[in-house]
């Protein structure tokens, strides 16, 4: 029987976004044409070309680094902290004012549901600038001194384009550094709109530079000999490559990389909230989340019940047009990522002998889509339990005792995040103590806040972003 209460389309208007046919690079306070070629950025939900974007080559990168160096030496590096603070506050305010525009643009370029771009990404972006604005004139209390590093080269991923930009730029600028940031090639547009916001805020030229492009642009940037700092968020594989590139240099590095988080559900968990936490953990942002709870570890005694409830909950997930305000799961960001998810899902199907399940859902014919998927019968030996899929794919494993749960959770080269669901307080604290992960969510999941340090153990990277800790990567240290 069909549901009589079917939600009519509730589309967010695209009208608020003024897309230009082509975008240049943002260097020294101006949009300039790149010397290299250009590439197209598309809407992954429709495959519609949104704009042509310049691809920065090594010479462009050099110009951007030089502009950043000049700005650091002449203006930003010696500007009193309280003045820097006011620029950051301005930026934060403009982000709030232009929040809907940023959210819609993010959804168009990234494929994430508008409700997430609107309710999660953009508010946290503004909050991040507000938070670090306040640090700019209080660095002597940070514990890391007041001396900035200089020019920061920042390379960010496509899963949270604007949010990752904020995590990189806000602390860097607060500490007195200038930046050259490269957004991901599939999601450059909000970074370019941010460049416009910098202009609107009258931020001195060269303090923020945005160079668009793919891997080669990023390599040129991090390898540039005049950068003092490299900050990267992305895959562990690329993170390792960056660590090798900066080896033997004076460059400071922070890396925020992959994960394969365990979300651990005990038999005494608040079940309905745990189900929400599982769903949020793996289906938020299509599972394109480094700290996604991609391994569900559920106590055997409640495994069947949890699974049944989870499946039932998954049937109410709405997959489709990211601009529809009722969409829960949007488009996969790129054809390449979709292929990767498909490949691993097929491997999972073989490994688990058909333990794959998805709710019935109609996927649009255009664009890149993958249904929310659960694999049961997964063991630690399976690739889908070890490799980061970075998609809406959950692997379900079981455990019998807390010790076994910890052993399985920690049995990975990653160590970014973990989840614990139990109503027993002392067990939460014991588990939190044992888990080798930088962020532990107990009876909640995927919560972020500018004041809360984020970052991983082991191969999930080093350094922390957010909070006082987030300043460490941008200051020279106590005098």
């Amino acid at each position: 029987m069909s549901n009589p209460f079917s939600y009519a389309p509730a589309l967010e208007s695209r009208g608020i976004v003024n897309l230009q046919p082509s975008y240049g690079l943002f260097i020294n306070g101006e949009f300039v044409d790149g010397a290299g070629s250009s590439f197209k950025t598309i809407n992954p939900a429709t495959e519609e070309v949104l704009a042509e974007v310049s691809e920065a080559d090594a010479a462009d990168v050099d110009k951007a680094v030089k502009a950043a160096r000049r700005a650091h030496t002449r203006v930003w590096g010696k500007m009193p902290g309280r003045e820097r603070a006011k620029y950051l506050y301005r930026i934060a305010r403009i982000i709030q004012e232009r929040g809907r525009e940023l959210a819609v643009l993010e959804t168009l370029d990234n494929g994430k549901p508008i409700k997430e771009a609107r309710d999660v990404d953009v508010p946290i972006v503004a909050a991040h600038f507000f938070y670090y604005a306040g640090w700019a004139d209080k660095l002597e209390h940070s514990g890391f001194g007041t001396r900035s590093l200089g020019v920061a080269a920042q390379v960010i991923p496509w899963n949270f384009p604007l949010l990752m930009l904020a995590w990189k730029i806000a602390p860097a600028l607060a500490a007195g550094n200038t930046v050259v940031l490269k957004p991901a090639e599939t999601t450059p547009l909000t970074a370019l709109l941010f460049a416009e916001i910098c202009q609107q805020a009258d931020l001195p030229a060269g303090v923020v530079n945005i160079v668009t492009g793919a891997g080669a642009t990023g390599q040129a940037l991090i390898a540039h000999e005049d950068v003092d700092k490299v900050a990267f968020t992305g895959s562990t594989e690329v993170g390792k490559a960056i660590a090798r590139v900066v080896a033997g240099t004076e460059k400071r590095v922070t890396l925020e990389l992959g994960g394969k988080a365990a979300n651990i559900v005990f038999d005494d968990a608040p079940l309905d909230q745990a189900i929400e936490g599982i769903v949020n953990g793996i289906f938020f942002n299509q599972g394109h989340v480094c700290c996604a709870g991609s391994r569900l570890l559920v106590q055997e005694s409640v495994a069947d019940e949890v699974l049944e409830r989870l499946k039932s909950r998954m049937t109410s997930l709405r997959v489709g047009d990211p601009l529809d305000k009722n969409t829960d799961i949007g488009a996969i960001n790129s054809a390449e990522q979709l292929a990767r998810i498909r490949e691993l899902a097929e491997i999972g199907e073989t490994e688990t002998g058909g333990g794959r399940w998805s709710p019935a859902c109609e996927l649009p014919s255009q664009g890149f889509w993958f249904p929310p998927t659960v694999f049961t019968g997964v063991t630690q030996a399976h690739r889908i339990a070890r490799e980061e899929i970075f998609g809406p794919v959950l692997s379900v494993l079981t455990f019998r005792t807390p010790t076994e749960a910890v052993e399985k959770a920690n049995n990975t080269p990653y160590g970014l995040s973990a989840g614990i669901w139990t109503e027993k307080g002392s067990r939460i604290l014991w588990m939190a103590d044992q888990l080798r992960a930088g962020v532990v969510w107990a009876n909640t999941f995927n919560k972020f806040d500018p004041t809360s340090p984020f970052g991983g153990y082991k191969e999930s990277g080093y350094g922390r972003e957010g909070g006082r800790h987030g300043l460490e990567g941008y200051l020279k240290g106590a005098e």
Partner: protein
């Protein structure tokens, strides 16, 4: 002492609380600062490095789970036992590093005092670098530092005791376990230090001391996938080796303390950075509700 043949000591490695000879069977001649023969020391091989990592990993769970107070007590105990054996350390430093006896006395004093200083840090660093985060929501949110794990330390070549203590103590006071490659040419103070560790309530495997060449063992430790961090201080000035080890360390994203251009002046106030680079910040969230 004419007429008496002195008993020469063969110096061994310190792994997992025991004093084995090098698995390879190799040893090397250690001369004093004047170039006179002092002793034979075991020449650590890559397999000794491997065994030491296994021992350090095995010890990590227990050591990191000790209360900070207990770690502080044990570090203080090391200082006490060192004080007890002051003359031996003075002699080892004087013969290894040369200079005057007065200088050697001063070095030993500083090494012991440094241990006392780090002992006190065990139960204070958490409050200095961790704390509650005022998130914008109904959540309890706390960041605390935790030890990163097994740390490979290439100890300073020149400062064989004070330098050694200055790189080992910050690692263990914060709950890490270490595999340290001593000064190659001046291993004696390290071996004496090992003997102190063995009698100071330090659990076996928390500190493992290999005598030998950082250039030989270092690359294996840098590439070892079960080592979480590497301190390259001991290859100060060797930019090529340092770069290569840093590249090897990238294989599992070890935390790296880079090799300085020249060995630091160990008499300076060390600050907290020798500890903080070996700490992971763990942030725990929990809802606040009825």
């Amino acid at each position: 002492m004419a007429g008496r043949i002195d008993v020469r000591k063969t110096y061994k490695l310190f792994i997992g609380g025991a004093f084995p000879r090098s698995e390879s069977g190799y040893s090397y001649v250690v001369n004093d600062a004047k170039g006179q023969f002092m002793a034979n020391a075991s020449l650590a091989s890559r397999k000794d490095g491997r065994d030491a990592v296994v021992a350090a990993r095995k010890a990590f769970g227990g050591w990191s789970a000790r209360t900070a107070y207990n770690r502080a007590q044990i570090l203080y105990r090391i200082a006490e036992v060192m004080e007890d054996r002051r003359p031996q350390f003075v002699d080892a430093v004087f013969r290894s590093e040369g200079g005057s006896v007065a200088r050697a006395n001063k070095v030993v004093d500083e090494a012991i005092d440094r241990l006392v200083w780090y002992a006190g840090w065990a139960d204070k660093i958490t409050q200095v670098v961790g704390g509650a985060n005022p998130v914008a929501g109904p959540f309890f949110n706390l960041s605390s530092p935790e030890p990163t794990g097994v740390v490979a330390v290439l100890a300073p070549q020149e400062s064989s005791l004070l330098g050694l203590v200055s790189v080992v103590a910050p690692a263990i006071t914060t709950g890490n376990t270490v595999v340290v490659v001593s000064s190659h040419e001046r291993p004696l103070p390290a071996v004496t230090f090992a003997e102190v560790l063995a009698t100071s309530d330090v659990p076996g495997g928390v500190v493992n001391i290999l005598t030998g060449s950082a250039a030989t063992v270092g690359p294996w430790l840098a590439a070892h996938m079960d080592v979480n961090a590497i301190d390259l201080t001991g290859i100060a000035g060797d930019a090529d080796l340092a770069r290569n080890l840093e590249i090897a360390a990238a294989d599992n994203l070890k935390r790296v303390r880079r090799a300085p251009a020249a060995e630091p002046d160990w008499s300076q106030d060390p600050g907290t950075s020798a500890m903080t680079w070996l700490l992971e910040t763990k942030t725990v969230w929990h809802p606040i509700g009825l």
